[in-house]
């Protein structure tokens, strides 16, 4: 009896693994010297990108109509989880020459 419960639990665990083919990841983008690095990242649906500002000047991360961070002071971070595939171009709304893209597959 006990054995079959354990066997059942293991089976459930295996099924769960199969049902979630890849674990969602968190990808880091840094902001240094008014530059997003890397400027282009490719992620999977369900992944999260976290931007961290290392400059002495605040920056934002804005993808028109998709997401918009508040002003990130030094060492502040902003995260966004991508639920749908597509190219998400973004920029810093304070220093618009700073641009990047997240490609979600």
């Amino acid at each position: 009896m006990i054995q079959s419960v354990i066997r059942g639990a293991s089976l459930a665990a295996v099924l769960l693994l199969v049902a979630t083919p890849l674990r969602a990841e968190t990808i880091k983008v840094t902001i240094d010297n008014f530059t997003f690095t890397p400027a282009e990242v490719t992620v999977k649906v369900g992944d999260t990108v976290t931007w961290t500002n290392h400059d002495d000047i605040p920056h934002t991360v804005v993808s028109a109509g998709k997401y918009r961070s508040k002003a990130l002071d030094s060492d502040d971070s902003f995260s966004f989880t991508f639920a749908a595939a597509g190219d998400y171009k973004y920029f810093c709304s304070l220093h618009p020459h700073m641009t990047g893209v997240v490609k979600v597959e």
Binding site: N33, P58, A71, K89, F91, H97
Partner: protein, 314 residues
């Protein structure tokens, strides 16, 4: 500046450095009948003479109250020093303009501190916003405090001593990959504002980001600034005063004089001389030579204009 022939395609780095060396120690220059001529280095007596008649007003810029990073851990202190210099001026200026980035992060306490210090000058202050003044969640603090009687994001005009002053906003609704932005609504308002005005009226335009293209790689310019300048064509005397780049830079193009003021908070590098336009850390003993204020003098009727940049020290 007369022997510095700037071309229409921007300013080469060498030229910029020449101009900055020339301008950095405090120079006086005049514009007479559209022909600029340098009066050379200013001594105090000459500056006083220039201020003895006509309209004198001040420009301060980029206070960044709240900034406490290594480039200047005490931006409040250097703003106080700037205001103390203003209070000590022998001739009281008519008023002051502030060309934006009053605060560093648009916090209420930062605006409070800025107001407390700047009001000690006992001068009327005409503000335009910098991008650092629109960072609060609801984007309302600047408008509430400084936007009274202004339109759109905060633009307006006023007259003083026969000079027409126009405060513009070029820090909102910026487009990815672009520069500063005035937008169609503001440009239409500008056209209306100038309509029917005598072409001999001296015009002073002030805004945060330079209206001319200083260095697009760092975003130092205004996408539709040229359209604003087109509207100003035909006026005999146009002066454009900006901040944002935390250093003195000058350019004369026809009847238009462009000038950027120092910050009171921290210096930024000359175009292309560093990895980014971020705050430039210099030796403590040099800091105050790179911060400062500007004094602008009109001899009314003479169509003469003089800008004197005064560093906090050195």
């Amino acid at each position: 500046m007369s022997d510095h022939d700037h071309d229409d395609h921007g300013v080469s780095r060498r030229r910029v450095l020449e101009c900055m060396t020339w301008a950095g120690t405090g120079v006086l220059w005049t514009l007479s009948g559209g022909v600029p001529r340098s009066l050379g280095l200013v001594d105090a007596a000459r500056a006083a003479e220039q201020q003895a008649s006509g309209l004198t007003f001040l420009q301060i810029s980029d206070s960044h109250v709240g900034f406490d990073k290594p480039a200047n851990p005490n931006a409040i202190g250097t703003l106080e020093e700037a205001v103390n210099r203003i209070k000590a001026m022998p001739v009281k200026p008519s008023f002051m303009i502030h060309t934006g980035d009053i605060s560093h992060l648009s916090k209420a306490a930062e605006f409070d501190d800025a107001d407390r210090i700047i009001s000690q000058s006992r001068l009327d202050v005409h503000y335009v916003p910098g991008e650092h003044d629109f960072l609060d969640e609801d984007v309302k603090l600047y408008k509430e405090r400084y936007g009274k009687g202004s339109r759109g994001a905060g633009w307006y005009s006023f007259d003083a001593n026969g000079v027409h002053f126009i405060g513009l906003v070029n820090v909102v609704d910026l487009k990815a990959g672009g520069l500063g932005n005035l937008g169609a609504e503001q440009l239409a308002w500008l056209e209306q504002d100038l309509k029917g005005r005598s072409r001999s009226t001296p015009i002073v335009v002030f805004a945060h980001i330079p209206l001319w293209t200083v260095y697009p790689q760092w975003g130092w310019g205004t996408e539709d600034g040229g359209r604003a300048l087109d509207t100003l064509k035909g006026f005999g005397s146009v002066t454009v005063l900006n901040g944002h780049i935390h250093q003195v830079m000058q350019k004369v193009e026809g009847n238009v004089t462009f000038h950027t003021a120092r910050s009171t908070a921290f210096p930024q590098p000359a175009p292309g001389t560093a990895a980014s336009p971020g705050p430039m850390k210099v030796e403590d003993t040099r800091l105050r030579s790179l911060l400062g204020i500007a004094s602008i003098d009109f001899k009314v009727g003479d169509e003469r204009l003089a800008i004197i940049d005064t560093p906090l020290a050195g």
